[in-house]
Symmetry: C2
Subunit: 159 residues, 2 copies
Amino acid sequence: MKQKPKLRLRPTGLTIGFISERTGLAPSAIRYYEEEGIVHPHRTDTGQRRYERADIRRLSFVMISQSLGFSIAEIRIALDSLPAHRTPTKADWQAISEKFRKDLDARIAQMTKLRDQLDGCIGCGCLSLSNCKLYNPDDRARSRGTGPRYLMGDTPSDL
Amino acid sequence: MKQKPKLRLRPTGLTIGFISERTGLAPSAIRYYEEEGIVHPHRTDTGQRRYERADIRRLSFVMISQSLGFSIAEIRIALDSLPAHRTPTKADWQAISEKFRKDLDARIAQMTKLRDQLDGCIGCGCLSLSNCKLYNPDDRARSRGTGPRYLMGDTPSDL
DNA sequence: TCTTGTGGTGAAGTTAACTTGAGGAATTAG
DNA sequence: CTAATTCCTCAAGTTAACTTCACCACAAGA
């Protein structure tokens, strides 16, 4: 008896459950990503979502990028540069990761700089902001919450 | 005529407005930090908050730490290790920044590793998760949003 | 003293990234 | 052919880190 492979993928495509298993993402998260324009599954005539294998890659890319600190908005923009109606090639993915690599490089440099100055700034106990190298407002690593979030630099006087 | 210095600091201590100016933080944020146990100003008999100079340092520490990606919960815990009823010394701040430096070191190492493997993983276009070095679940850099957020590693099969 | 600030207190709103729940339709297993 | 799954939609809830608002009290200066 032929052991029927329990694949939730009809000729129409992969089900959300299948994608969920393979990526570890909850179906609700995957639907959310669709709202955010990160994946664009097509629908069966009865309205169920069907994905392609390439979508697993897209979602993996999302997870990795998030772990690197990118927001889904940024990720969406990056993914938008992938070809719309053609399965992305190796070269497509390489191009997209290039930008992220740049960003990563910058952030690593930034953090290294901060670390090296930590002892001289917080560690020394002075925290005199006017001398402090941590003043650097070019910090790009923050974007949570609401309203303005400014890294010190508005207070030119000493403490 | 002696130009009266417009310092909002009565013998009772520094006002929230003064602290706000010096740190660049909005008064609302400073009050919020109080709720979160990060600063503990005392009150005048009429209920106004009065801060100490050391609080500016605490708040600066908070801002710097946040820019490094620490949550205020983590920061609060770190600050709790400062002496409660004594102005923190140089040594106190050094001890506290030591832990953060460790964390920073780890994160820099992590990001560097990720960057170095980016080309070989996303860049190559394979994204075969079972081979991918980005699998690494020891990633500590994420903690936003609700519910479980797991970095791939639950999906041992290939994509 | 009178008029502007500052300051204080809730309560409610905001963004991001999702989850949870209710109620109903399709699909699949036995 | 049922029963059990899986899926769908829409609305509302959640956490973090604050902001905004309304409304009232004190404080400072001309």
